[in-house]
């Protein structure tokens, strides 16, 4: 029988190893799997390369993972947002690496990684410093830059509803990077607000087919990053 449900968030992340590449879903707070990130802090795996659009805010979630010195390198499009203090400080101090990728290129690289496409050409970033040193090529008189698919050892994703096969739906703009990150990791770990029986999700509306998911943990009442930040909470506290 296929049963991807695991008992606890701690168990779900228990094999994330030092030096792993970890994709973390979310666009700002929306879709950020804060419980899985906090368990990764508990676990303490270090020297991580993290692929995520932003770098978190305040001193919880992704920002706390960075603050805890577990992240060697960030691959992201927008490392500074309102309330992000941890990454900018470490970056200015030269203590964390940054690979800055245009948001659409980041999304396409993740999608390519999941789809078995090792490289593709895109018009984004041509004639800018972000294309420096990259191979370019003309198609139909326009210049494109070659970008590579990205794959990760683990993806951490937050969804709305899941079943034991790993079929997922999302909620509003919390969908963002979740579906493509599910496809691009050796091991995809998902926290779900609701767990239902197979068949309860209409097969027409499944967003992430179960084949892309390895583990699902039920987090019925996830913390709100913005509330934790407003309360000046830290993790670990």
């Amino acid at each position: 029988m296929i049963n991807k449900l695991v008992k606890s968030d701690a168990e779900a992340v228990s094999d994330i190893f030092d030096g792993a590449t970890v994709m973390i879903g979310g666009f700002g707070e929306a879709g950020s799997p804060i419980e899985l990130i906090h368990r990764l802090i508990d676990r303490g795996a270090k020297d991580l390369t993290v692929v995520s659009n932003n770098t978190g805010s305040g001193n919880v979630g992704l920002a706390a993972l960075i603050e805890n010195r577990q992240v060697r390198k960030m691959i992201c499009s927008f490392p500074r947002t309102a309330g992000s203090v941890v990454f900018p400080e470490l970056y200015r101090a030269g203590e964390i690496e940054l690979e800055l990728v245009p948001q659409g290129t980041l999304a396409e690289r993740i999608r390519a990684g999941g789809a078995g496409i090792p490289a593709f050409f895109t018009p984004s970033s041509v004639n800018t410093p972000l294309a420096d040193g990259k191979e370019t090529r003309d198609f139909n008189g326009q210049t494109y830059v070659m970008e590579y698919g990205i794959r990760a050892d683990f993806s951490l994703v937050k969804c709305h509803t899941a079943d034991r096969y790993g079929n997922l739906t999302y909620h509003r703009t919390a969908r963002n990077f979740g579906p493509i990150m599910c496809t691009a990791a050796e091991t995809t770990i998902v926290q779900a607000k609701h767990i239902v029986e197979p068949g309860a999700i209409d097969p027409e509306v499944v967003v992430t087919p179960g084949i892309f998911v390895n583990r699902v943990v039920h987090i019925a009442d996830p913390a709100h990053e913005s509330i934790l930040v407003a309360n000046q909470e830290r993790y670990p506290s």
């Binding site: 929306a30 659009n53 990454f87 290129t105 509003r172």
Partner: protein, 210 residues
Amino acid sequence: MGWSRIEMAQKAAQDIPDGSYVNLGIGIPELVADHVPAGIEVIYHTENGLLGMGPVPDEANRDIELINAGKKYVTAIPGACYFHHADSFTMIRGGHLDISVLGALQVSKNGDLANWSTGKPGAIPAVGGAMDLVAGVKNVWVITDHVSKDGQMKLVNNCAFPLTGKGIVDRVYSNLAIIEISDEGLKVRELAPGVSFDYLQEQSEPKLIQ
């Protein structure tokens, strides 16, 4: 003298054709949505996965999982839809959007745009979706103060800051004027109240066409 932020947004809003698909950047561009003339239907795209973005909700209807690219609370109109990031940038990169309205640090005479980094040491570079938008969207409009807060010209011969894209700006809505950028040069379409062409030229590095 000149237009306020809201008036700049109004000017841009009035130029959006009925039925357009439009992406609004963070800052003054966000104000455009509030000023589209009655009778015109515009569909707003936000790159974090929503087509059919509606107005800002009242406090009771905020949802931390319904935000725009600037991470601010928004709503969804009837007929909206959600999608993931790769599909969102299929819309952008694939040429499906009609207009991208962006802010700027500098715009050059040939339509280069710099809007993501001052390139200064210690600055945290952050590009977001800007490079995809300028590469993929048919019409790129910039809304910006004509001169920076510290008195530097923003309309320049060559951008000193790192580029977002080369030769991609079609039109600038500044607090002083509306300027079209084409192969023929920088043509002033409209001057703000109280702004003379000569004054505008003084505030602009490239030669302008009246």
